[in-house]
């Protein structure tokens, strides 16, 4: 089986549909380790990738005013049990453009794999970018994932990202996204992670609302059990008149797991308003009893509640 076929198989196992990676109508990028094994640009969207000793440097540009109809599919994986994959990426979304990315990161056999993502993203004036990243790490917990992004959203732009890791072991995750939002811009960060065994999860979401009427939501949903640990730092700053922001963190804890949440709200303009809520605890008793009164066992009920919360 070729590298491409193997990564497609892993991609499919992680919930992706390989047909999108084969279609010439769909922009896509497939990276296995430090090998670029597929890159497809389409009119209005240019994708380039170059090999690094331990990963890949990729650049994605969407022309101003272009609306990319079909989601762009990205697939990053490491198939061997050990290795490092560093993805350095730059996204430039032109003014008035619209694009959605669906990224699958898959490490099905990992015992010692480090996956580092460093993204620099600019969403142009009036442009929209949606980025959905789903991870599959296998069952050993041997993956260390370090996704880091620095995002700027220009006037009237919209940026929304969802990071999901709820199948297989999380391993060690240190998620770190920072977004600066200009006038009338919108940013939404949503991280959903489940950890068990001795997984360690850190989520850092920062949104700075720097322009008038900028809006932001930093949302996180974490579930930990066994001896897993989670810590969420949700920060939103209101730095301009009529900026509106919210930090929303929910963590479900079971067994001997430990969860912490540090919502930070900072307002430097008297006309800005930022709110926060954080809830950490075990599964809600009333939710669980409702499901048990439908005949579900306790474990099945907990699974339904957690999967729902994580958007599975």
């Amino acid at each position: 089986m070729s590298d491409f076929e193997q990564i497609l198989q892993a991609y499919e196992e992680s919930g992706g549909d390989p047909k999108f990676l084969k279609s010439p109508k769909v922009a896509s990028l497939v990276v296995s380790g430090n090998q670029v094994i597929g890159a497809n640009s389409i009119p209005g969207l240019t994708m380039t990738a170059e090999q690094l000793p331990d990963g890949v440097k990729a650049q994605v540009a969407v022309d101003a005013g272009v609306r990319i109809e079909l989601p762009v599919h990205l697939c990053f994986g490491v198939l061997p049990a050990e290795g490092i994959q560093r993805i350095l990426s730059e996204f430039e979304i032109g003014a008035g453009a619209s694009v959605e990315f669906i990224a699958h990161c898959t490490f099905p056999n990992a015992t010692h794999v480090q996956h580092i993502m460093e993204g620099k993203i600019h969403v142009g004036e009036g442009a929209t970018m949606r980025y959905k990243e789903t991870h599959y790490h296998g069952q050993t917990g041997g993956v260390e994932v370090l996704p880091k992004a620095r995002v700027t959203v220009a006037k009237g732009g919209r940026y929304a990202s969802t990071f999901g890791l709820s199948r297989g072991r999380a391993g060690k995750v240190d998620f770190d996204y920072e977004v600066d939002v200009a006038e009338d811009g919108v940013a939404e960060l949503d991280a959903k992670v489940m950890g068990y065994g001795d997984d360690e999860i850190i989520v850092r979401e920062t949104i700075r609302l720097n322009g008038e009427r900028a809006r932001g939501l930093a949302k996180s949903r974490i579930a930990v059990r066994d001896q897993a640990r989670s810590e969420v730092f949700g920060t939103t700053e209101g730095n301009a008149p009529f900026a509106r922001g919210h930090v929303d963190c929910v963590e479900i804890v079971r067994d001997q797991a430990i969860a912490r949440a540090t919502p930070l709200v900072r307002v430097t303009n008297e006309q800005a308003q930022v709110t926060h809520e954080a809830a950490i605890g075990t599964v809600d008793k009333k939710q669980l009893e409702t499901l048990m009164a439908r005949g579900l066992d306790e474990e099945a009920g907990v699974e339904v509640i957690i999967r729902g919360m994580l958007g599975d």
Binding site: R221, V250, D284, K285, K286, Q287, E289, T290, L291, M292, A293, R294, G295, L296, D297, E298, G301, V304, I305, R307, G308, M309, L310, G311, D312
Partner: protein, 250 residues
């Protein structure tokens, strides 16, 4: 009543909550495939009775027995009771992030039955578009109550305990609720309908009046309603006894 006609028997049930004696020797018998209303004022012990019958945590009887289809279930878990075919529609139903109405309605089904899920939604007069909505804060209180009723209907339970199904729903839809309850009974379910509104009791085949944690009358719904209207208002025990005596004189 023949033994096999009794689907539920509650015998001398006592329940204490947070140091207060809420149920004080409840005795109740419910016939199979009937709609049996339990009528009482707020604070009379209705909801405590409902949660105790369902086996909710913290509602453990200090004395008494609950028999379901002749089997003692007093110490069985809520899941076990659910698997036996007992279910409860909470007065204020829980909300679930990320759980679609379609999935929620199918959770209690022993075998997946999409037709039944659709029928359940139709029974509570909600459009099919609700199936893809989430059972979360985006639903109004009335919508959530209807979906709770639909979830009970979709499950085809043997015994459905409905705690104040009419609260939070506009009065125009009381007829809808009555229809769902009758459909459940016609299809073989027994419904224990708990309410403080006497007009709801008109739906029932039989009724019991609960007062200060005791069933004080069981029988024809009209007679129970009549007594409820004449005697029941928020009171202390002494006043209640006085009115009881007055009622007996009437």
């Amino acid at each position: 009543m023949e033994t096999d006609e009794r689907i539920l028997q509650v015998i001398d049930l006592w329940v204490t909550r947070e140091g207060r004696q809420i149920l004080r020797g409840v005795n109740l018998t419910v016939s199979r495939q009937s709609v049996h209303a339990v009528l009482g004022l707020n604070g009379s012990g209705k909801s405590t009775l409902a949660y105790t019958l369902m086996g909710s945590a913290g509602y453990i009887p200090s004395r008494g027995q609950i028999l379901f289809e002749g089997q003692e279930i007093t110490s069985r878990s809520i899941s076990e009771r659910g698997k036996m075919g007992i279910t409860l529609a909470w007065q204020e139903p829980a909300r679930f992030e990320g759980l679609t109405v379609e999935r929620y309605l199918s959770l209690g089904q022993r075998k997946p039955d999409t037709q039944r899920v659709w029928a359940a939604l139709e029974a509570v007069r909600l459009e099919a578009s609700y199936l893809q909505r989430f059972v979360d804060e985006s639903l109004s209180g009335g919508e959530r109550k209807r979906i709770e009723l639909a979830a009970v209907y979709a499950m085809s339970p043997i015994l459905a305990i409905l705690d104040e199904p009419d609260s939070g729903i506009d009065t125009l839809s009381l007829d809808d609720i009555a229809q769902v309850i009758h459909r459940l009974a016609q299809e073989g379910s027994t419904v224990l309908l708990i309410s403080h509104r006497d007009e709801v009791v008109a739906i029932a085949d039989a009724a019991s009046l609960i007062c200060e944690g005791q069933i004080v009358q069981t029988g024809n719904p009209d007679k129970v309603c009549d007594r409820y209207a004449r005697c029941c208002r928020p009171c202390d025990k002494a006043e209640r006894v006085e009115r009881e005596v007055e009622y007996e004189r009437l």
